[in-house]
Symmetry: C2
Subunit: 206 residues, 2 copies
């Protein structure tokens, strides 16, 4: 059985759990408390020298970092990964875009507003910048999704799961989702897929 | 023929040019002056609404953003992309790691020191943070490369090209490369591969 090291509330950890849940892949989950510094503890660094979560230990013992690499690995050969070469490239493009142009802005804005609000005042200037860039990202997604039901090939894929991870909690970073009707409709569409489960439900599951 | 929109001095643009050069794929190159705001001009935004470079227009007219997605697309079916499923996953892992843990620190440190030094004083505090995180990334690579000739499968692949893009100019961000002997040896190893060409040579080529 695979083992996934996760932390509560992380969109990057949630993505991987959601895919495994939807693929009905059994896995053991170990929660790590990032806020108390557990990812930097000698015990955790002995497992993952990168000191980050999620971290996946496959059933054969091989270890894997980077949430989007996990998505691509687990989805290979399933309905969640296209077979067509160019559609595969589009999946890569969205997943790299998520890590370069979406998550780096939406995630920290949400973190300092919803998870660590005691730091919000000190971070006010940066939060405003993250919100500006995050809104650019949501606008870009909204334009694409106004013409397509899903991000790639008009079919639910790991590209959608990768982007869903932090888009579904963007409102917690005070992003006004009513400005992005196509993104909101896409969130709803994902929430109706087979074996979908919300972040908190997967977080609380054993 | 493919068309690549690039800008001078960008490691992300260089990666894609280096792979196409090593694969002997002919392409037309159009230089965009990011510093003068050309990526935000109406003309460029009409081509690429993301306003970023590199941007690749394939010979059949399809358009592609994200340098690492370009690498994966162009390398598919060539010696630069492994066939083994788990080695492919390792390529994904390194390329996502590059965008999340390497480029976001090494690239801006180098930018404000070597390309836009007039902003260096104002950015001093951030540069110190980027250098700290960039050094963590180089240390992580050095540990891996002290046991392997190349990043994945002990063979030169797009994982190496993806990481080479900004590692080869890290010294311009005042990263002390003598602290990373295995990384330095790997840089030399890449520079001896067939049809390798340095950043400035490809930048100046028509």
């Amino acid at each position: 059985m695979h083992t996934l090291y996760t932390t509560l509330g992380s969109g990057n950890c949630y993505k991987v759990q959601l895919l495994m849940h939807q693929l009905n892949i059994p896995f053991r989950k170990i929660n790590i408390d990032v806020l108390s510094g557990e990812t930097k503890s000698p015990d955790y660094l002995a497992i993952n020298p990168n000191g980050k979560v999620p971290f996946l230990i496959l059933s054969d013992g091989r270890m894997l970092g980077e949430s989007n690499a996990m998505l691509l690995h687990l989805a290979e050969g399933t309905e969640f990964m296209p077979e067509d070469r160019f559609e595969r490239t589009r999946v890569y493009e969205w997943l790299f875009w998520e890590q370069s142009s979406h998550e780096p802005f939406i995630s920290p804005a949400r973190f300092w507003i919803a998870i660590m609000p005691e730091g919000r005042e000190e971070k006010a200037e940066q939060i405003a910048q993250w919100q500006e860039r995050g809104n650019q990202a949501l606008k870009f997604m909204d334009k694409h999704l106004s013409r397509h039901d899903f991000l790639v090939g008009d079919r639910y894929s790991v590209a959608d799961i990768g982007l869903y991870g932090y888009t579904c909690v963007a409102h917690q970073g005070e992003f006004d989702m009513s400005s992005y009707p196509a993104v909101s409709a896409w969130l709803n569409r994902i929430e109706q897929t087979t074996h979908y489960s919300p972040m908190m439900d997967l977080a609380q599951a054993a």
